[in-house]
Symmetry: C2
Subunit: 369 residues, 2 copies
Amino acid sequence: MSDERPVHLRIPGPTPLPPEVRQAASGQMINHRGPEFRALLAEVTAGLQEVLATRHDVILLTASGTGGLEAAVVNTLSPGDRVLAVSIGYFGERFAAIAQAYGAEVVPLAFPWGAAADPDRVRQALRADPAIRAVLVTHNETSTGVANDLAALAAAVKEEGRLLLVDAISSAACLELRTDAWGLDVVVAGSQKGWLAPPGLAIVAISPAAWEAQARARMPRFYFDLRRAREAAQEGSTPWTPALSVCFALREGLRRLRAEGVEAVWARHRRVGRVTREGLQRLGLRLVPQDERTASDTVTAFWLPDGADAKAVLQRLRTDHGVVLAGGPGQLAGRILRIGHLGAVTEGDITPVLEALRAVLAPHVPAVR
Amino acid sequence: MSDERPVHLRIPGPTPLPPEVRQAASGQMINHRGPEFRALLAEVTAGLQEVLATRHDVILLTASGTGGLEAAVVNTLSPGDRVLAVSIGYFGERFAAIAQAYGAEVVPLAFPWGAAADPDRVRQALRADPAIRAVLVTHNETSTGVANDLAALAAAVKEEGRLLLVDAISSAACLELRTDAWGLDVVVAGSQKGWLAPPGLAIVAISPAAWEAQARARMPRFYFDLRRAREAAQEGSTPWTPALSVCFALREGLRRLRAEGVEAVWARHRRVGRVTREGLQRLGLRLVPQDERTASDTVTAFWLPDGADAKAVLQRLRTDHGVVLAGGPGQLAGRILRIGHLGAVTEGDITPVLEALRAVLAPHVPAVR
């Protein structure tokens, strides 16, 4: 790809970084046990709390988002605990696999890929099995571009008095998410999604009830022990050396998010999501979400038209148009493409994507010709 | 601290970054499943193999060094396995604590803080207890500034046919370290130490024998599963989104290390270590290592003179001289200070540190007045 032409990185994270964030990532190293880091951690934590709408603890872990999901599991559960794993796609299955790897008894509640989870079925499953201690839910399923109705799911789980662990990796700082008001116990996010920062930090919000569970949970943990992280945070540090460059970038990203305003950020993602879906439909392309009302506003998945080869299409988009999209994970590989529209994204960023798709897919879609 | 005055960050990592590395850390995001990342991972892996002197697998994990230690443990051991934990300080104890957290039966072999481990005692311990499967060793103990004779320790462990897991976090890319020639099974390093990069990546080298152990090991793991990481690496990627900015920086750091030459890097650290120790001794300060021949060439620990308060000294060094040093961890807190001299460091970088120490500690050391 030519260096001169702009690249449109439109995968569901990492997202393109604003210039000020890139500048921040190049900051010189500091003592991670000194006063500069203490000030940074205080500012970042306050920003994370504001965006996640929580007054409770938010912990930074040096890890990918998946490390944050592991932290959520191993800090709240014991081997043998029954866990309801609500899954609507690839990342829901991953969350369940983590719980399984650490010895939880996973009760799967899987919905078809492309559908959202039905809160009533979650409620029924919990009523039918009072031994279930915790529920795993994906807020926004990156593999299918479906957003769950997290408020309704949380209401069902809380009515039944169970712990709710939420994968909000591709939703936090993008979609409406109210940690305290909705009663979410653990919320996991990742720096490379809505936060305008590079990957490398997992963000974990923890409710008082989750801390109570933490004190009893017996799954083995060391690196991801949230109690150690909280103790260090209370002294303005982290138990292990943090990814400082990513912290610098995240601080800058949070400043920009707070300046825009959290509700405005949610509204912007709603607008961009709608523009993306409408554009694809005008091209005659079919969305993966079965019900458009459940379509995600951070990632749009669409079916490849008959005769279009995923690898060849991705390659041409990239080489001829500088547009970088993602393929499908797991069972959807080769059958769908995905457009990420989260982070520092506006409606205008979608235009070159739609133009490139029109050019590359035209031979395959009658409506486009 | 004034913004105009240079800061001398001389803690045992993170280390000051060269301008080209900072520039690299500000790179725009890329698709971590695309061709640019595939090329980056190939180049970085080749560089890591060269510096670690291994022809076998080297895996990148998005984590602090401690996450790499956890990966070493959980990928090679099963609950109940007997493990000899050779400890000469704070970080040796941490390695043992990780094994314990995951259910290993830890057989401690602790030497006094300030001493190095005796290879003969390691050999005896292994002969006395044939059920011990693996040995944990810290190459360079950052808390006391003592470097173990890793070649001799490895020879003892290999003679007895046990698995050897090495914490080389503050030695790799600084001190002589020959992974294959010495028969090291797992070697763990961290990007913020000798590698001229920011924190955020753990580096794990794995021998064929360690892979055999991996296939049988039953400690629970998901995020740190090295098999998943190897499978992804074979396709030019990582199982979870990697800390891209840190990868960009590490690539640049490795280019500089390889241009200098690994043996030249080791020799430079030896020179700087000697200059540091000689300078402290001229100031009348006493080193923590009991035998100077075991003193580390990446971090020097020295006893605070009577009447000197650690916090006040660190504060004055920082405020009046722009020199940032580290205090003592664990049982050494308040009693020692530590100078980090690893990464992009030369003899000249030690001069301002010694001058600042002379100025601040003069009232407490008769020889200095």
